[in-house]
């Protein structure tokens, strides 16, 4: 069944979009990430204009992160205090990201900035996580579990001034590195058109040692707040949000996310981190290949916005 999208100005197959929404929603629910980095390339591949693809999938992220965050809130797996600090830093970072986006576009090198950022972020985050999970795996095989966290055994940056207590996350740390992290995530998110959950989740896990269950809920809360702002900004600044496409993606996504979240709860923590690491590495390598391999078609067309 074909349906015409009023803003993208082209017809799409309803079943295909529902299926894509469900698949990305599953991954998003499983790992507590937004899934924007998977959805945007898929939509562009279908022929939807890039601006519409980036802007519209924020609506789907809003819906799926609402569901996840509400579920986490009910299970008491959401640290609202930590989440609020992350949102505060994230919004400032987004502002900087939007400004840098415009500067790179004026310089004519936006594509390069985006692809290089994708490759660096995904391969670095992915391989760090993979290394960690392999080490974890080996030490558990040898029967010598890693020593549990002891009191006073902290990374030095947690002891910087402005310390705050986050009881739900079992965290007593300086607000400076937390704000710094959310600033960076907000910056990268605005630049790449993604929520940034894939940076936030491993950072909270490894840098701040927040419990896995709380990480997902809190990250979804932060994603919800930043993508809500991004959605409205995209609608006002680019007029590129397609409400029909958004509803189709949401319908597929909410079901996928439910099954993903359920599967995630039955997954062992080590396996969870290992799979997330593999996913990130795969995306990073895919972009690296695109950058290095001789393209079959070196030319590309884009429509220049001539808005007044």
């Amino acid at each position: 069944m074909q349906l015409y999208l009023p803003i993208a100005e082209m017809p799409v197959s309803v079943l295909l979009i529902l299926g894509m929404g469900a698949a990305v929603g599953f991954i998003s629910g499983l790992f507590g990430i937004g899934g924007g980095f998977l959805m945007t390339p898929l939509l562009i591949f279908l022929g939807i204009p890039p601006a519409v693809a980036v802007a519209t999938q924020t609506a789907q992220i809003v819906a799926s992160s609402t569901t996840s965050a509400m579920g986490a809130l009910r299970r008491n797996a959401l640290d609202l205090k930590l989440g609020s600090v992350l949102v505060a830093g994230g919004l400032v970072g987004s502002g900087l990201g939007v400004w840098f986006f415009a500067a790179a576009r004026r310089a004519g090198q936006l594509d390069l900035v985006i692809v290089v950022s994708y490759v660096t972020l995904f391969t670095v985050v992915g391989s760090l996580m993979l290394k960690e999970s392999i080490r974890e795996f080996w030490s558990s095989r040898r029967g010598s579990p890693r020593p549990r966290r002891r009191g006073g055994d902290h990374a030095p940056y947690l002891g910087w001034p402005l310390r705050m207590r986050f009881p739900r996350s079992k965290l007593y740390a300086s607000a400076i590195p937390i704000l710094g992290l959310s600033l960076f995530v907000g910056f990268a998110g605005a630049l790449l058109g993604i929520g940034g959950g894939f940076i936030m989740v491993p950072a909270l896990l490894y840098l701040f040692r927040v419990p896995t269950a709380v990480v997902i809920g809190t990250s979804q809360f932060q994603i919800l707040c930043t993508t809500l702002v991004a959605l409205v900004l995209h609608a006002v600044a680019n007029q590129a949000v397609d409400v029909v496409l958004a509803i189709l993606l949401i319908l597929g996504g909410v079901f996928g996310a439910q099954f993903g979240a359920r599967a995630g709860r039955n997954l062992r923590a080590e396996l969870f981190r290992f799979l997330l690491a593999l996913l990130l590495l795969a995306v990073g390598v895919r972009f690296a290949v695109e950058l290095v391999v001789r393209p079959t078609e070196p030319f590309s067309i884009s429509i220049q916005e001539t808005r007044v």
Binding site: Q60, A63, M70, Q239, V243
Partner: protein, 258 residues
């Protein structure tokens, strides 16, 4: 059949109108519709072009047959074509070429292959055929030979998307002087104004030319959404956000485990 009835009405209309005998041959053309509506199940459209060639009594009959070339130009866009080149060990966009006034859709339809209708020099001068249009000096800024690769790339990529088409035998003569063409519009052709240019050729020269146009417009729900998104963008953004929040909340209630 509807189109047959419409055709008969058109032909009678043309005969009643009579010709304006300024030159030997005149041509009268019409479209099956001047306004194509996009509805929610739109998957592309076809528009029919009809025409009648009229010859006044004095002019002698020609030895060579008539030929028709129809050119359909969609709404204008500013297109940028970029070329990836190796820099170190990565491929990045380097050179680019601006096409400030390129049609989003371009269709050229004829009775015979263009080379049989007229010569290459005339094709170039009169902008007949895709190659001639894309290679015209005013299509983009001339940069010696540097712009040629970009013109070729534009044509190649647009042909692949089916947004630029050239069909050599699409126009058919129903009688010696009555011709018909069905223009296929792909679903990705954007809404806007489409110019239809019809040229009558005989013996390699243009005898007559007519211009008409049709409009591809969003209607009903599609039109309203487009207008709200443009004129009330903040409200539209907030409404979409509200819908997303509502769906997310409903899902969390439906799938509640306890």
């Amino acid at each position: 059949m509807r189109s047959a009835g419409r055709l008969r009405a058109l032909v009678t209309g043309l005969l009643v109108m009579g010709g304006v005998p300024a030159v030997a041959e005149t041509m009268v053309t019409s479209l099956s519709s001047h306004r194509l509506a996009i509805t929610s199940n739109y998957t592309g459209a076809a528009i029919a072009v009809f025409g009648v060639i009229e010859r006044d009594a004095q002019s002698i009959s020609r030895a060579s047959p008539y030929d028709i070339v129809v050119t359909v130009r969609g709404p204008r866009q500013t297109l940028v074509v970029r070329e990836k080149e190796p820099a170190g060990f990565v491929w990045i966009n380097q050179e680019q070429q601006l096409f400030p006034d390129a049609p989003a859709y371009l269709g050229v339809f004829a009775t015979r292959p263009l080379d049989e209708i007229t010569g290459e020099a005339l094709q170039r001068r009169q902008r007949v055929g895709l190659t001639a249009i894309v290679n015209a000096p005013d299509f983009t800024t001339e940069r010696g030979a540097a712009d040629d690769a970009f013109r070729d790339a534009l044509l190649r990529l647009k042909l692949r998307e089916n947004l630029y088409v050239q069909e050599d035998r699409a126009v058919t003569f129903l009688t010696a002087s009555l011709f018909r063409l069905s223009v296929p519009l792909p679903a990705t052709a954007p809404p806007g104004n489409y110019d239809v240019d019809v040229r009558l050729f005989a013996d390699t020269v243009v005898l007559s030319q007519t211009q008409t146009s049709f409009e591809l417009v969003k209607t009903g729900f599609e039109q309203q959404v487009g207008e709200v998104a443009r004129d009330w963008s903040a409200l539209y953004g907030l409404a979409t956000a509200g819908v997303a929040l509502l769906f997310g909340w409903i899902a969390s209630v439906i799938f509640r485990r306890d």
